[in-house]
Symmetry: C2
């Protein structure tokens, strides 16, 4: 065997949710938004630069629009190809200690994948039986901390004071709070970046902004963190955001009414679906995200998952310890959710 | 000082070419294409999926179109966010030996940046006085080899037999040949991938396909190399190519006539500009790329660079050992190049 094989980096790739593509399917498995982006987004295409030219490597236009939107300086914002790119760059930039980084045992499934990829030591911190984070557990020695708030796939939100205690208690670590789902009813910890230089808050366009297909994510923090990220990013690929991502990403910020209206719609659908699910003897923690993490008192999650799939209704099932009897169900339109509920009713009544 | 600062990854970021944005400027500094992409590219936008949905993580449509275009199997093609992404992923995937990787001392300036970023040991192999690679120098112990062909910023092409000797002589290393500029008159070594399992050939849409702003690059090699790349890629970010990159990237392959015609136009402009430059006492090796790497017998490159810049004509100057008296001049339209030549004439006559 040639030696080059032994030098291939060994990884366990992340398994993304299924991406089926069928007419009339109901796709509730990857937390996308059921509503299209604001019409202003498409209109933003007119401001696209020439395709033949490299995009602006500093992505000034989008960075500036985001800074304005959040009341920050441009130097406090870093953008990337989805929040996955922003998070991966943050791991590479800030997690270079010999001490393990900490994240929950039940959380976004990419964290351990990146740690493995970059050979960063890590430790999974168990959630409680009720899937809550325990802030005292994040006071142990560490080389960095990362968690989503609301957490995924549970949808459970921790209050700002909870986040602040962790950030304040770890002045020697960068603490990354992944707010991918914060727009669906959570209170952001963004204001803490003015008081804590070790806090990085990550956001995405893929959920509340209906733009998963555009690949835009960003993070906010003090200038020094952002500068370090930019340096590492420029060492990797100067031109990662294409003309479409920059132009349409900027345009998306211009239609606040549309944004609020559609986020509110998803929240109200979520609450209604929750009530229906309780009637069917499902239980779940209150969700502050665009999904519900549900378990049934009698029927196995995996069986429900398979039943739904046969009807082209896709939800997410994780075959992992502690959560293998749960389903993560993205909130779709009212019509889609009615079909989902109807399918459950038919199945549970006969079963 | 808080410890988190000491854990920031130290990097020397790559310095991309200036990206000025002025009306009527002549931009010959980043090897972009002066002609727009085929009208079929814009038309490809109609085949774009919903922005609100994640793109296909396997990018099946674009991978398949590229495989068909090059007469390969889908399993022999890997795509990324520009060839920079493809190259960086390749470094991360294949260069994990303790032995140094090898690349020319004068070459694409990102190679050492990635090596530093991923902590890969490396060795710069000097070119000859005439900026030629010496194939025997690549027979020393190494953990991998990478070079562009034609080389950048020299534009000098080595024949396929030369590349083959290096690939055959290094069965224990992955050899990456970066063919970013191959369409401008070079003979590709692509066919060698059927005989050598350790060869990876990299291409980009940014030069000959007039799509630098779309961020599409790819590489081709045996299935095992491509699978390893896909595994590492899926460990980093499953969704890096946005809907625009996939749809327009696929459409670009459909208009071969347009592609050939505009590449031929650039080659003929290059030859004409070369003649004019010789008359003005510039010298340069024959270029097989969309740029010329020129030096003047009397006047310093840096002075010419500054003079041109004052007239909003941007070329690339590298303040680096051995090449600090050269300019890299991208081939623009005939009109742009005439203005460039006129500016040189005015300057050199009075100087």
């Amino acid at each position: 065997m040639s030696t080059w094989r032994t030098n291939i980096r060994e990884v366990t790739p992340y398994t993304p949710g299924e991406q089926p593509n069928k007419e009339n399917m109901i796709k509730l498995n990857t937390n996308e938004n059921p509503y299209p982006p604001s019409p202003m987004v498409e209109a933003g295409g007119k401001e696209m630069e020439d395709w033949r030219l490299y995009p602006d490597p500093s992505v000034t236009k989008l960075v500036h629009a985001l800074a304005q939107y959040h009341g920050l300086l441009d130097e406090q914002v870093f953008v990337g190809v989805g929040s996955d790119d922003v998070l991966a760059m943050s791991f590479l930039t800030f997690f270079n200690s010999d001490k393990p980084i900490l994240f929950p045992d039940i959380t976004y499934s990419f964290y351990d994948v990146w740690a493995e990829l970059y050979k960063i030591p890590y430790k999974r911190v168990p959630l409680t039986e009720q899937f809550r984070l325990v802030k005292e557990d994040y006071q142990q020695e560490n080389g960095g901390i990362v968690f989503p708030n609301p957490n995924a796939p549970t949808g459970i939100l921790e209050p700002v004071s909870f986040v602040e205690d962790i950030v304040r208690g770890n002045p020697d670590s960068v603490v990354i709070v992944d707010e991918a789902y914060i727009d669906f009813g959570g209170e952001t910890c963004l204001n803490l970046i003015h008081r804590y230089e070790n806090l990085l808050v990550v956001r995405t366009y893929s959920k509340s902004r209906s733009l998963a297909g555009l690949r835009v994510g960003y993070c906010m923090g003090n200038k020094e963190l952002i500068e370090a990220l930019n340096n590492v990013k420029q060492s990797y690929n100067s031109y990662t955001m294409n003309q479409a991502a920059i132009a349409l990403g900027t345009a998306s910020l211009k239609d606040e009414d549309y944004f609020r209206e559609h986020v509110a719609k998803i929240i109200s659908t979520r609450e209604w679906v929750g009530e229906e699910l309780r009637k069917l003897h499902f239980s779940f923690a209150p969700s502050s995200a665009n999904f519900l993490f549900i378990t049934h008192e009698r029927v196995k999650a995996k069986d429900i998952f398979e039943m739904l799939k046969e009807q082209d209704i896709y939800v997410r099932y994780f075959d992992k310890p502690r959560i293998d009897n749960y389903l993560r169900v993205t909130i779709g339109t009212d019509e889609q959710m009615q079909q989902f509920i109807d399918a459950l009713k038919r199945y549970l009544n006969v079963k």
